[in-house]
């Protein structure tokens, strides 16, 4: 069945094959949400499980995600924007004064693969810009990254500013070499020590 083939192609990161199979599924008249749920997203689910077990590696997850997105691009024109469900919208940034972003990039890619919608504001981002993006995108999660002890204090500023703007319901997750559980607790945020934990954390935060 074409959806099973799609799962396999996504799992193996075969971009061209996913595009062909998605188009074939569309041509066969299979409903878009079935192609997504039983094919594309299911494939990423398999990937997530295998990665969790240590049987797949990050570059393979990235390639699978690329393949899935290639399929999604073909489906998007066929359905209303509101019908594409995702688990939640997150605004991500490396805080002001800091240009390090490889960890954040990895988390963003993994979260996208896990069906989150991510607005990545980049690096050296002022707290006000983050808060404005949260309001504009109606985000439920903010993800902050810092590599330096001298910039991590900006995370506290962001948390304070969210509260001052009545955005208490928005959950903040933080990561980076100098931060810790303790620091997160101190500023009212949540901590993940690596990208895998970040995905688990984001899943937990949207459930609550």
């Amino acid at each position: 069945m074409v959806c099973d083939q799609l799962v396999e192609a996504v799992r193996n990161g075969r971009v061209k094959e996913v595009k062909e199979l998605t188009q074939s599924a569309i041509d066969q008249g299979i409903a878009p949400n079935v192609i997504i749920d039983e094919g594309l997203v299911k494939g990423m689910g398999v990937v997530g499980e295998l990665f969790g077990k240590g049987e797949m590696f990050v570059p393979e997850v990235m390639m699978a995600s690329k393949a899935m997105n290639a399929g999604m691009e073909l489906i998007k024109p066929l359905i209303k924007a509101g019908d594409i469900t995702n688990k939640g919208t997150c605004v991500f940034a490396t805080v002001k004064g800091d240009l390090h972003d490889i960890g954040k990039k990895l988390v963003v890619l993994m979260l996208e693969g896990a069906s989150f919608r991510i607005i990545d504001l980049g690096v050296d981002v002022k707290p006000q810009v983050i808060v404005d993006a949260v309001k504009k995108e109606n985000a439920s999660i903010v993800g902050l990254s810092a590599m330096l002890t001298t910039t991590m204090s900006v995370m506290k500023e962001v948390c304070d500013m969210l509260r001052e703007n009545g955005l208490d319901g928005v959950k903040v997750m933080i990561g980076g070499a100098p931060v810790s559980h303790d620091y997160a607790a101190k500023i009212g945020a949540n901590y993940a020590k690596d990208a895998t934990e970040a995905v688990e954390l984001a899943n937990r935060l949207v459930k609550n």
Partner: protein, 479 residues
Amino acid sequence: MIKDHYSRSGFVQSTPTMRVVTDSQIEEIHYAALDILSHIGMKLENETARELLYSNGAYVDGSLVRLPVKMVETALRTAPSSFILYTRDGEPYIHVEGYNANYGCNPDNPLYRDPYTGEMRKPTSLDAANMGKLIDYLPHIDFINTCNFAFDVPEDIADRVNIRQYMFNMRKPICFSCKDSKALEDIIDMGAIAAGGRDKLKSHPYMFHIEEPISPLTHDEVAIDCVMTCSKNEVPLVYFPMTMAGATAPATLAGLLAQSHAEILFGLVIHQYTNPGAPFVYGAIPSIMDMQTTKFCYGAPEMWLCASAIADIAHYFKLPIWGTAGPTDAKEIDQQCVAELSYGILMAGLSGANLIHDIGLMDSANTYCPEIYVLSDELASMAKVITRGINITEENLALPQIEQALSSGSFICEEHTFKHFREIWRPQFFDRTTSSKKDGDIFEKLNAKVRDVFENYQPAEFDPDKKKAILELEKKWMH
């Protein structure tokens, strides 16, 4: 008849060395780096530096800077091939040049294994004082590289507080990170007090500074500020990328080296065009991202291999070298820990890196425990036996002694043995007893040594007037 003149013309005495890349491989890496610098370009987020480079012939487009080859070659020509690091008390201590290998360690990373309680806890500036004493004591550790973690003082000033602790408790040269160029100026003032003035500190450097690009291809404002400040003040500067193959550098090692080399050269150009001839140290921590855990790995064979390649490249260009050995990804002093330390320490020594840093950190540099420095000192002493090589002299060929052995069957009672046996390495901690007589657990021995040093070792006193002057100076930033 005794012939007392020994002559051998054309004889070459050598010590062991290791090359991992040939001259022609280095040249390929270098030409690739020149392509990166002149064709691809790099992001330079520092306006002053951009203006400096632009006015000297660089191509600037927003924050993207491309360097013509002539600027790179000029910088390579003006960078000095050697300098001396002095002790706190003004004695020449480390000749940073050639294949002269010296080991250094980090005395204050984020987590500290308390030798008294076994607890993994946040370190304080009091721990820094103890670590200063320990490093002063250890004979094969020659400098420190402070990362400034001290959780009993505000983050903003932890750098200067820890440096003061090291100055007060240790004579060996200090390599430091710091908050920004303003803190850097404060630290230069501290160094100047020890040296006897800023000019004296220039001619007798006791401290040196590290900065890093952000791989791939990005150089940030604060780091470059500090690069230029070091250059102007002739504080020796290490500019070194820490790359992860597959994440912030290509997954293939040749590409990783080309990128790292280019990033270092970019910093070198800014540094040398700020003040030609200011001392610059070339180095990198060229490692990998583990694609399962997404962690930067220190205990990776690729890291040791590429660190040796980096040393080979620096030797080719006759630049002083920042090497890397230890740390380990292990979480405690176990089999993994010792294997990773051993590979790293020996390879860095054989590659002739001049300032080999990061000795002895655990858990991918998150944790430091004092016992590991003592262990690393033992491993470094073994490595030095190997890199000292075999010295062929008439005395050492020992023919008369061999002749007497025909009748005696032994060398044990020979005066020659009495004269030379102390040249043979002996462990301080490793066990050579017969198996029935095990002399205590090695970790316990290491721990006992740590406590003994912390409690009983008195490093040479710092000049009381200079101590007073430092405490006076620091009123500026202590609240």
